[in-house]
Amino acid sequence: MDIQTRLFERIKIKDNIKFLFPALIVLISFFSSFTAIAQDDEAVQAGKKLFNANCAACHKLNKRAVGPALRGVSVKYDREWLYTWIKNSTAMVKSGDAQAVAIYEEYNGSVMTSFPQLSNEDIDNIIAYTDYIPPAPVASATVPGAAPGQSGSSGVNNNIILGALALVFFILIVMLFLVQKTLLRIAVASGVDIKPETKPKRTPIWLAFVQNQLLVMVSVVLLLLSSAYFVYGYFMQVGVDQGYMPVQPIHYSHKIHAGANQIECKYCHSSARVSKHSGIPSLNVCMNCHRNIAEYNGEEDLENGYTKDFYTKEIKKLYAAVGWDETNQRYTGETQPVKWVRIHNLPDFVYFNHAQHVEVGEIACETCHGPVEEMEIMYQYSPLTMGWCINCHRETNVKVESNEYYAKIHEALSKKYGVEKLTVAQMGGLECGKCHY
């Protein structure tokens, strides 16, 4: 992609649109030839698709998960046996097949889902995928390797250009200095007398300022007012923790979960739908996915030290807390509840209900919590002050559509205020007792 955009820009700069399309075409064909070389086997492709759809929930290629690792499974078992097993494993265990019973017992009697819908051909494809060993990463490494190299060199280029420019400026300054020196010398030589101009003596500015009483008054008043403004500002931010970004016991990245993986907020914070608390998800919710995701394979942020290794270590912390024995794929029962640092703290005397806002009002989580999907470390986005609440209540319309509860009230109130849409404030959302009890 890097090359592509760079090329694109360069072409654009040249403003030669005729070159653009052929260049792109060349580029695309260049890449596609690459992929064609890498994935020559259609069966492997089909197998991969099927594997991800049907098997990946319990199996990994190289590692034991809920079920055994599948790399090289065709070597271990007879092809026909595999057909029968995949289509109906339970029957096979019941029939007392030695191999089947052995594997059944090895995995503590967990039953493998039957896949009668898979044809023998499908199974062949899956096996082809599990047997496929991708070519040594030397060839493919050239492409990803090329991009950083290129970008690195362009950085050097910039530096050189900047350095050259600095040099030129320096030379210019030196030259100017030399010219002035020469001119002065010429002037001295030609007998011209150059004297610095002498100004008539004036009262110094500070004295003039002190003598002007009005000005002193005005500036004192201004000074007082502005300092009062800053003092007020200082005091008003006491207890406002906007931007509070504490270090958490487990480095949980909302950027990866909500951003890269597009997990819906309310999947984990499910009680926000029904309760006043959004709830910090219990660890069993994490394990819904992390039972199978034991290591991090996404993008890295090397600048901040967020390597794959770093993230994988954080997943291990989760396993330690929930008591998950990775090698044996079972819970040990030894748990260490995670002590998260609470970020959003409302005072005790404020009643806030998530369900009212999220479910009834259909307010997006981001309205108050900000761009969570971009937050590597979670922080408090909104000030959570009363003024902030009130403003929103004044501006936000109540979602009354298809809610039987509002039907009568809304009709009467909108008639009273003569408006189509009612704000929360008009519904009584500014009354003290609605939030303070």
């Binding site: 006491v238 207890g239 923790d241 509070y244 504490p246 009680s271 029904v274 309760s275 006043k276 608390h277 709830g279 910090i280 998800p281 219990s282 660890l283 069993n284 919710v285 807390a321 929930v322 008591g323 748990t335 509840p337 995670v338 002590k339 998260w340 640092v341 609470r342 703290n345 005072p347 005790d348 005397f349 009643y351 209900n353 369900a355 009212q356 479910e359 009834v360 298809s402 809610n403 039987e404 509860y405 509002y406 039907a407 009568k408 009230i409 009467a412 109130l413 009273k416 519904m427 009584g428 009354e431 003290c432 007792g433 609605k434 303070h436 009890y437």
Partner: protein, 1023 residues
């Protein structure tokens, strides 16, 4: 222009030689400040801290505090590792369970938040005893009692349960081998499975003899029922089917025969116009002490216990036949009235008695059978009292004599609650084997070798049969907080069984009770009933001998023992909610006392004094029954029968209680032979007792705008304007209703849209039971302030139940007396007399909380607008905004605002539930805990109404009537409190708002409250 006038404040200032004036010109005070103002001078001089140092310290600590305050605290949140499916943080779960502590029995719902039980509510669906009284509401706090036993002990040492089983089991086996008798002393356990387990246990250890011990016995009633119906049980009553109720010393709105009758009673006591004319029941009460039941009666006749027996015999003789005995003239009038009421009501009449006398109880059975009373239901008897006084006494005698070798006491504390407790304690400590199942180290546990820590009922399994065919299930609502085991589990293991109590219950229910019904459903509901159509044969009462009742006489004073609404038998004495709960009649909290009639008090020199600050003091009396003497503080009780004194059970315990809870005297000392009536000698003793009383004993003086009441006759024959007039104000010489917009100075809110909450309180069906007071405490995190603070009128009850006396036969009578006063001399006398509550006053109860005025006087005076009005009718109080000027409390005509004089939570100066981690678990997380210097008051449970609204929004549906509730209306089982949306024209509360009986408190002030009252109607005329 300046004037030359001399201003003076004091005549003395005019005299230039006055020393004091001269001195005052120099000094602020004539004399020096008292020395103890800053300890004494000497220490001040010797102190090394100079003024400079002091300022340095202050400066430093202020700066340090300021810097520290800028740094926000780091708050940790710890989610579940594996979240239980049914728990969602922030959402309450309700579980149906059963309370059965041997005294209180009821089906209840437990509200839990994040796994913590925080509130007890009635189970409205349960057909039997689905009503929670004040003690049951408070029982959730007893779960979080810091003095609960945390594990088993043997010989005073903490042991593990394994060691406990090893040691106790060995002792049991040794005793069984030598066939030495062991007594298994239990309270009434109407539990089918427990009885089975006990039977199995006895099969394993045949030397064990079970004895059932009710601390407050219903022995006489049980004996009478057993004699005529062949089963040890109690006849049930349904007062909703009664038109004439005659009660001879039966406090059936209190704890008589297990209680639970208030609901039916209130139904019949509210005037209903089914057939044109309004009808309601008529209630005669013959009693000695002023009981809750007597206070609600239409005719209350104070009389001695001997008189009561005579009256019972008289009623029996006049109705069924026999030579009627003698009655004094004034009693005869009322006895005849009662008899004619019974006669004219036919099968709608009912007679009850609480006398501890077999014959008296038999008379009741005979009379009700004779009347074929519809309210009398002997077919399905109640099983919640089983105690056998004779057996208990024999057992205790055997223990004292040493003819028994062991005692296993289960949830009872006989050393405290048996009349001869001290001797019993000594005997128990000498026994070979003694084991006490208890949840605290009480007097009996202290005397026992082995103490088995039992869980609270909210941590326990259980099954009960309240009434034959009516079953209830108990389930744990929280994991045991401490290392405790249920008594049934311990018995099972000692008997060598492997199963747990839960398995036994389930098996037994599936086998013998449920039939084809589902166990899960029964557990979910908390109850299960089998409709039986057993027709009892009518017993033959011809052999009943009432001669002993006819001739009963008394000599000297009689002591009548009773149980209080708040404390009951005293099991929950360590519960600060119940200690602070003011008694409905005397309005005294944190105490028990001797109630004495005015004439007896005068004769004995006993008195009550109101001190200048409004607190109440009382003399002490030396009370002697037999050889036992106690020094008891005295309350002069209007309506106490002359020649009788009353004293309540439940107080005076000293072990297993925090220091502050060790209040009152132990009335069980006087409870000889399980008879509530004892001959007594009362003398004046030294000293003066300080009470914590929240309302003095003055009468209402006909202030009819506070408590309005009328008689059924007036109610039926006269116009509303006569008995419930609207106050008038005059504008331009024209009279207007005070509620008319014409005379309104205020701008009216438009409340026609959305909800408009109103609470209706029916003075007819309010029995003053106080369940709402405790429910309000639990729901709203109301703090407990302690006896010292209550005495200073700093009680924090958001909801109080005022008790008003009237000296005349009705409150209107007061008005007439007042109006007929002529001349100043007469007025002084008459007012003085009227202020003295009479020998037999009328009583009215009136629950008062914030009236949520639409024109609220508190709102206009708040300088910071902390008190404001909501469109839904609630008067809001923003605690975080309040600066504590207390202007609002000054300006409130109803005096319902409460000020936090101290920080009542996390404060070492107080030792109640809010001051320890365990006790704070009961707090409702939806309501803020208020801090010092903040005004608070009833919010009309806005957290509950808001929750209801949110639920409706989430479901997207309109709110049906009855869904809106407050803690008090929810706790009110008699239906006196009805809460709802006035804008919902179909709602009950909207109908009540239009009712003729509706009035507002102090209507003439023009506050337009959102709490309304219904005029009390008394059925004092002939039926």
């Amino acid at each position: 222009m300046a004037s030359n006038k001399t201003y003076w404040k004091n005549i003395a200032q005019l005299d230039p030689s006055d020393e004091a004036v001269k001195k005052l010109e120099q000094n602020e005070f004539v004399s020096k400040l008292p020395e103890d103002f800053l300890s004494d001078e000497k220490t001040l001089e010797e102190s090394s801290t100079s003024r400079r140092d002091f300022l340095k310290y202050v400066g430093f600590s202020t700066a340090a505090a300021t810097i520290a305050a800028c740094e926000g605290p780091v708050i940790k949140s710890v989610p579940y590792v594996v979240q239980p499916e049914q728990i969602r943080p922030g959402i309450a779960n309700y579980y149906a369970t059963t309370i059965a502590d041997g005294f209180d029995f009821g089906s209840v719902l437990i509200k839990t938040r994040e796994g913590r039980p925080i509130k007890v509510e009635s189970n409205p669906d349960a057909p039997t005893l689905g009503i929670a009284n004040a003690r049951m509401h408070a029982s959730v706090l007893s779960l979080y009692d810091t003095l609960r036993l945390q594990g088993p002990t043997a010989n005073g040492q903490d042991v593990s349960w394994d060691d406990f089983y090893l040691q106790a089991g060995a002792m049991l086996k040794a005793l069984a081998a030598t066939d030495k008798e062991i007594i298994l002393l239990t309270p009434t356990l109407p539990s089918p499975t427990t009885q089975k387990i006990i039977a199995d246990f006895i099969a394993a250890y045949p030397n064990v003899r079970p004895v059932v011990y009710d601390t407050i016995s219903s022995d006489a009633a049980l004996n009478a029922y057993e004699t005529y119906y062949g089963q040890r049980a109690l006849a049930d009553y349904d007062f909703s089917k009664a038109k004439a109720i005659v009660s001879v010393d039966a406090d059936f709105l209190g704890d008589w025969q297990g209680g639970g009758y208030a609901k039916g009673y209130a139904l019949s006591k509210t005037p209903h116009r089914d057939h044109g004319k309004a009808e309601m029941s008529q209630h005669f009460q013959f009693e000695s002490n002023m009981s809750l039941t007597g206070a609600n009666a239409d005719h209350r006749i104070p009389c001695t216990p001997a008189d009561q027996k005579n009256i019972l015999a008289y009623i029996h003789d006049r109705l069924i036949g026999g030579s009627a005995g003698q009655l004094s003239a004034d009693l005869k009038v009322f006895a005849d009235k009662a008899i004619s009421a019974l006669k004219s009501s036919g099968s709608q009449g009912v007679l009850v008695t609480g006398l501890d006398d077999d014959a008296a109880q038999a008379v009741v059975l005979a009379v009700n059978t004779y009347l074929s009373s519809a309210a009398f239901q002997p077919e399905q008897p109640k099983l919640i009292r089983q105690g056998n006084a004779k057996e208990v006494q024999e057992a205790f005698q055997a223990i004292e004599a040493g003819s028994v070798s062991g005692l296993i006491s289960v949830g009872v504390n006989p050393v405290f609650s048996f009349a001869n407790g001290n001797a019993l304690a000594e005997a128990i400590s000498k026994l070979e084997f003694s084991l006490s199942f208890t949840s605290k180290i009480d007097e009996t546990a202290a005397a026992s070798q082995f103490v088995a820590a039992t869980p609270h009922y909210l941590e326990s399994w259980g099954d009960y049969e309240f009434k034959s065919g009516h079953y209830a299930l108990a389930q744990p609502t929280i994991r045991p907080l401490f290392d405790t085991q249920q008594f049934q589990d311990v018995l099972l293991r000692l008997a060598g069984k492997n199963s747990k109590f839960y398995d036994e219950i389930k098996a037994h229910w599936n086998e013998s009770i449920l039939g084809s019904s589902s166990w899960s459903k029964a557990l979910h509901d908390g109850y299960y009933s089998i409709e039986s159509s057993v027709e009892n044969s009518i017993p033959d009462f011809s052999a009943l001998d009432v001669s002993q009742l006819r001739t009963a006489t008394s000599s000297g004073m009689s002591l009548v023992l009773y149980s209080k609404t708040g404390m009951g038998d005293g099991q929950q004495a360590n519960n600060p909610w119940l200690q602070e709960f003011p008694d409905p009649i005397t309005r005294v909290s944190w105490d028990n006392y001797l109630t004495v009639s005015m004439s007896d008090a005068n004769a004995l020199g006993l008195q009550n004094i109101n001190t200048a600050d409004g607190a109440l003091n009382g003399s002490y009396a030396a009370v002697t029954v037999g050889t036992q003497t106690l020094k008891v503080p005295v309350i002069v009780q209007p309506g106490q029968a002359k020649g009788t004194v009353g004293l309540s059970f439940g107080f005076g315990e000293r072990m297993g209680l925090k220091d502050e809870m060790q209040t009152g005297v132990n009335a069980y000392t006087f409870y000889q032979n399980f008879n509530r009536v004892q001959n007594v000698d009362v003398k004046l003793a030294n000293g003066e007792h300080e009470f914590a009383c929240v309302q003095l004993h003055n009468t209402l003086m006909g202030r009819g705008d506070i408590v309005k009441e009328t008689t059924l006759e007036v109610f039926n024959t006269k116009d509303k304007a006569y008995w419930n007039p609207m106050p008038q104000v005059s504008k331009d010489h024209i009279e207007f209703d005070v509620t008319s917009p014409e005379v309104d100075m205020w701008q009216e809110f438009d409340r026609s849209i959305g909800h408009h909450f109103n609470l209706s309180i029916d003075l007819n069906s309010c029995t003053g039971c106080g369940a709402c007071v405790v429910a309000c405490h639990a729901e709203n995190n109301v703090p407990v302030v302690g006896k010292r603070e209550v005495r200073k009128s700093r009680d924090m009850h958001w909801l109080r139940i005022d008790r008003y006396y009237s000296s005349a036969s009705t409150f209107e009578g007061d008005n007439e007396t007042k109006e007929n006063i002529s001349g100043i001399g007469d007025s002084l006398n008459t007012f003085g007399e009227m202020e003295q509550a009479a020998a037999n006053p009328q009583v009215a109860f009136q629950p008062v909380m914030c009236q949520h005025c639409n024109h609220a006087p508190c709102e206009t005076v708040c300088p910071v607008a902390a008190s404001s009005h909501g469109r839904q009718g609630q008067n809001h109080m923003a605690y975080n905004r309040c600066v504590g000027t207390r202007y609002c409390a000054n300006n409130c005509p109803y005096k319902v605002r409460r000020f936090n004089w101290f920080l009542y939570n996390k404060n070492d100066e107080f030792d109640y539930h809010m001051n320890n981690d365990l006790g704070r678990m009961v707090l409702n997380p939806d309501v803020v805990v208020r801090s010092r210097g903040v005004m608070e008051k009833c919010s009309l449970c806005i957290q509950m109404t808001q929750k209801t609204i949110l639920d409706a929004k989430l479901k997207g549906e309109e709110i049906k009537d009855g869904t809106f509730q407050t803690a008090c209306s929810n706790a009110c089982t008699t239906g006196a409190m009805v809460f709802g949306d006035l804008n919902d024209k179909e709602s009950k509360v909207a109908a009540l708002h239009e009712d003729d009986r509706m009035y507002h408190l102090l209507e003439h002030v023009g506050t337009k409250p959102n709490v309304m009252y219904q005029v009390k109607v008394r059925n004092t005329d002939e039926v």
